[in-house]
């Protein structure tokens, strides 16, 4: 009987439950779909590095899901409290009819269970459908061929979803029963008639607070831009606190400010229902400003994370082609400061130089050793060019000082003090150019070139070349062969990371010049996809195991190998990783925010029925009341979004600067796409709220 009553209630108040139910569905469905990503490994043919990405992604989603569950839990508890508040009167009637509190609670328990189980079932079904779609998205992101129709189902994700939401529903249940037991009959019965006294705040105070809030937010923006997200110091902390306090104050004083501002234009204030709408807003702000602030900050987080994430992923892929012009790069870094090519290994307590005799025997030519170990080398590699970089005894800062270049006081500028400046010979430099199909350069005997492609540092060398054309290096004075900076890639990697090399005439380098690193760039004899698997397996067969600068580890003939294809795979994996996480977090945050706003406005509409009824009685036309409802709801939906958008623009602006060290970063497209997708969803919630409110307000009104 109680179950029947509960079922009837849910069906009856579908308008109220509707938005709650739909949001729950979204939550369950997205939760399952993203947690089931690990199971795609069973269906899709991932490469090893892709497998690693998927595992990393699954781990990250696992962690993020706790955060997501907390957000959804908050939403569900909030929503069901709203639903109970809306039905105080009904519960009051049950109590008056002699139903004990325990049994009223039981109705609520059944209702919560009913909605919970229904949303879990439907949500899981939807989630399974969505996870099939995600399968194809992953396949597309990883460029994996999909031939047959595939089906993926994750038992673990299902169990996890059930457990997480089970706990959430249980907590909700406890909250609901608790709040019911606290109600007094008289309150419940009089719920309709509550004569909520409107707390008044002085309007001039609102104006002052509003201006202060703008000042706080402005200061926070300034501090953030100034700090540049480079170090998480007290400036960053201050900025965060200021923006939070500022936003809170903004929403606290906004309605008062609007009211005051419009009141000062009496023509506007005393027109139509303007004063009614403004007073409505002002009367509710005491109870809503905290949640509106939370919503706004959550939206800010959603926009920034989604947009920044997508932009970051884009940055990786966009500059990839430029940074992977060599098919592969093998390289090593010397383990000590004073290793040269004299054949005399430095004295060392450990075995760090056990490789040295071999290298010396092969005349420090990486190719000689490689070809001996891999007899079929020439069938894979058509061209290869080695490039040794030598220590100059100078730091980058020394070079900047010589050119009287002021180095920015950022993290890169500061590290230029310690970073040593290296040099290479022009003949080896020209070999790299030949590999890339570029013309060789001639430095004669007394010229130099500067070579750098790391975005954040390029300016130092560019300014150096603009200001002076001589450089003192290796006790010689060289003149600049060109006043433009050389920016061609020095190796294959995911980012352009050459922080600065001086190209010098060969005669300045001899076998006593201490080495810094050695690099071998190479080109395959055929298509990357054809050659690389064979080349890689031959390479790993000849030189197994990882390498590091520890004792007995492999240093010669190379420590690390990177290939263009690896970089591409990593980049697409990273893109997928970031995109998935950003969408997961952004989507849940957005839906939660929209649902909270919607519920708040629906509850507001319920409180307003009598007011709108009265307006119709005194002859306000439908069109006018509808417009008032629209304006009121639009303000509630619009302002948090606008504030979040402003915050995001500033934060993203800073993020762009940080990320731009990876090269050119196009934020416009991801921003537009994110905002577009968000707006559609947000708009859907807004429209639903508007139409539901309008129906609610028209329902009880006059004929």
């Amino acid at each position: 009987m109680y179950f029947k009553l509960a079922l009837g209630n849910v069906r009856k108040s579908f308008r109220d439950y509707g938005i709650y139910f739909i949001t729950l569905l979204f939550g369950v469905c997205v939760f399952y779909a993203f947690n089931s990503i690990a199971s795609q490994q069973a269906v899709l043919q991932f490469s090893e590095s892709q497998n690693r990405i998927i595992e990393l992604l699954a781990g990250l989603i696992d962690g993020t899901s706790v955060f997501i569950a907390i957000i959804l839990g908050f939403l569900i508890v909030y929503a069901s409290r709203y639903l109970i508040r809306r039905r105080k009167k009904e519960f009051g009637t049950y109590l008056t009819l002699g139903m004990p509190v325990g049994k009223v609670s039981r109705i609520v328990v059944y209702e919560t269970l009913l909605v919970g189980v229904a949303s879990l079932l439907v949500g899981l079904a939807l989630g399974i459908a969505i996870s099939q779609a995600l399968l194809y998205v992953t396949a597309a992101l990883f460029t994996i061929q999909v031939d047959a129709l595939m089906f993926v189902f994750s038992y673990e994700a299902m169990i996890k979803t059930i457990i997480y939401f089970g706990v959430i529903f249980f907590i909700t249940l406890v909250f609901n029963v608790f709040s019911i037991s606290r109600y007094k009959l008289i309150d419940l019965i009089n719920a309709d008639r509550k004569n909520e006294s409107i707390k008044l705040r002085s309007l001039p105070l609102s104006v002052v607070l509003f201006i202060i809030s703008l000042a706080l937010i402005g200061t926070a923006y300034y501090l953030l831009i100034d700090n540049g997200l480079v170090t998480f110091d007290s400036q960053f902390a201050t900025s965060t606190v200021l923006v939070c306090v500022g936003t809170l104050l903004f929403f606290y004083s906004l309605s008062g400010f609007l009211l005051r501002a419009v009141q000062s234009n009496r023509k506007l204030y005393f027109r139509g229902l303007n004063m009614f709408v403004l007073r409505q807003l002002n009367s509710k702000i005491n109870t809503t400003f905290i949640s509106i602030t939370l919503v706004s900050m959550a939206l800010f987080l959603a926009i920034t994370s989604t947009c920044g994430g997508t932009a970051l992923a884009n940055a990786f892929t966009q500059n990839l082609a430029a940074n992977t012009q060599y098919d592969a790069t093998l390289s090593l870094t010397l383990p000590g400061q004073n290793v040269d090519r004299t054949g005399q290994a430095p004295k060392d307590e450990g075995n760090r130089y056990s490789w040295y005799p071999q290298a010396a025997a092969d005349n420090f030519d990486m190719l000689t050793t490689l070809k001996r170990s891999i007899p079929e080398w020439d069938t894979y590699v058509s061209n290869a060019a080695q490039m040794n970089s030598y220590q100059t005894g100078m730091t980058m800062k020394d070079l900047a000082d010589q050119g009287q270049v002021t180095v920015k006081d950022d993290i890169y500028g500061q590290s230029m003090d310690q970073a040593s400046l290296n040099a290479i010979t022009v003949s080896e430099f020209n070999k790299q150019r030949t590999l890339l199909g570029l013309e060789p350069v001639d430095l004669g005997s007394d010229k130099f070139l500067l070579w750098c492609n790391f975005e954040e540092i390029k300016y130092v060398y560019e300014q150096f070349l603009a200001k002076s054309n001589t450089l003192n290096i290796f006790d010689t004075t060289l003149t600049a062969a060109s006043n433009t900076l050389e920016t061609m890639p020095d190796r294959t990697s995911s980012i352009a990371g050459n922080t600065g090399i001086v190209v010098v005439p060969d005669h300045l380098i001899n076998e006593k010049t201490p080495l810094a690193s050695m690099t071998l760039n190479l080109m395959y004899s055929g298509e990357r996809a054809d050659v690389e698997p064979k080349f890689e397996s031959a390479l790993y067969a000849a030189f197994p195991g990882p390498s590091s600068i520890s004792d007995n580890a492999r240093i010669w003939p190379f420590m690390t190998s990177t290939t263009a294809m690896q970089m591409e795979e990593q980049a697409s994996g990273l893109t997928a990783l970031i995109a998935y996480l950003a969408v997961y977090i952004g989507f849940i945050l957005l839906v939660t925010c929209a649902a909270i706003l919607a519920l708040q406005q629906l509850s507001e509409a319920a409180d307003n029925v009598s007011r709108y009824h009265l307006l119709e009685e005194i002859g306000v036309e439908r069109k006018m009341t509808s417009k008032a409802v629209l304006v009121q709801i639009a303000i509630y939906f619009l302002f948090p979004l606008i504030v979040a958008f402003c915050h995001s623009l500033v934060a993203l602006n800073v993020v762009v600067k940080v990320v731009s060290m990876y090269g050119y970063l196009d934020i416009a497209l991801p921003l537009l796409m994110t905002v577009g997708a968000f707006l559609v969803l947000y708009l859907a919630y807004f429209l639903f709220t508007f139409f539901a409110s309008r129906t609610m307000l028209n329902q009880k009104a006059v004929v």
Binding site: I198, F270, Q280, N282, G619
Partner: protein, 303 residues
């Protein structure tokens, strides 16, 4: 911002007085047309010209087959311009239903209601809104003013929705507030007002648009006797000085005695009517009591 233009208020007040005097001069007896005559009761001859309100055989039936309530059962009467009329009857006799039909909040089942010459029973929703906005003023038992607006704004609302220019709004609110002695309370919110003050704010809002007809449903129902008296005197003043045509529903004989004419209804039909004529309020009150006790039988239900 709500400073009162006292001069303005006074001049308006005096203008109203003058117009009343002029009107009184013009009063001549007119025969009533279309007024249902109940045998055995004296016929009322209204003052003035055309009726502001003309109800023609209106019926209102609630519910569907098997379970119907005939709330109004063929009611016809007129209210002329400048009249002050009460409708009395026992609880459940159909008073509120009648008022709701006249105010177009509810639709009649059959019959016609003419307000200012226009049949409102077949108006469309939008025209009904306009009708209520332009031709009617409302005062209800539970003061129907908005809790979120100040008294001033509540009164102004009736004008802002008619798109009256704000300067004119200021003048008219000040004037009407002066009439109803609520000038000092204009800045306050409803929760800061007494029941009587709230009702006078509602009255101010009802009257400020110069409606053809002011409808009041048990306006004194929730007031203590002192506030009730004050409100009734205000109505009297509005009727006399501002020429408001007022139709008041009440079951309180004391309230009814302030009016010029009382229509009694019972079970949805007009039972009789009393006209005050030259009688004093006290005499009129006694006559009303007579009818009420005759009507009520056990009586308590009515008073």
């Amino acid at each position: 911002m709500y400073e009162l233009n006292a001069l303005e208020a006074k001049s308006l007040f005096q203008k109203g007085k003058k117009m009343t005097e002029m009107l009184i001069d013009k009063i001549e007896p007119v025969t009533t047309a279309g007024l249902q005559q109940t045998p055995g009761i004296e016929t009322y001859v209204p003052a003035g010209g055309q009726p502001v309100l003309h109800c023609e055989n209106i019926e209102k039936v609630y519910g569907s087959r098997g379970n119907i309530t005939r709330a109004l059962d063929g009611i016809s009467f007129n209210v002329n311009k400048g009249e002050y009329v009460a409708i009395m009857g026992a609880s459940g006799s159909g008073k509120t239903t009648l008022l709701n039909c006249i105010s177009s909040i509810d639709r009649v089942t059959s019959g016609h209601i003419y307000v200012a010459g226009r049949d409102i029973t077949n108006l469309r929703s939008k025209q009904l809104s306009q009708f209520r906005r332009d031709d009617l003023g409302f005062i209800f038992q539970d003061s129907n003013i908005l809790d979120t607006l100040t008294a001033y704004e509540n009164i102004a609302l009736a004008l802002t929705i008619k798109k009256v220019p704000h300067r004119e709004i200021e003048m008219r609110v000040a004037a009407v507030a002066e009439h109803l002695s609520i000038t000092d309370t204009l800045k306050k919110f409803p929760y800061q007002l007494s029941g009587g003050q709230k009702q006078r704010v509602a009255a101010a809002r009802a009257i400020i648009t110069n409606p053809s007809l002011v409808l009041a449903d048990e306006p004194t129902g929730a007031l203590d006797s002192k506030s009730a008296k004050m409100l009734l005197e205000s109505f009297d003043m509005l009727n006399k000085n501002l020429l408001a045509t007022i139709l008041m529903v009440t079951h309180d004989s004391f309230a009814a005695s302030y009016t010029k004419r009382v229509i009694f209804i019972q079970d949805g039909k007009i039972f009789t009517e009393l006209v005050r004529g030259d009688q004093s309020r006290k005499e009129f009150f006694n006559r009303i009591i007579e009818v009420v006790s005759f009507l009520g039988g056990e009586n308590n239900d009515v008073l």
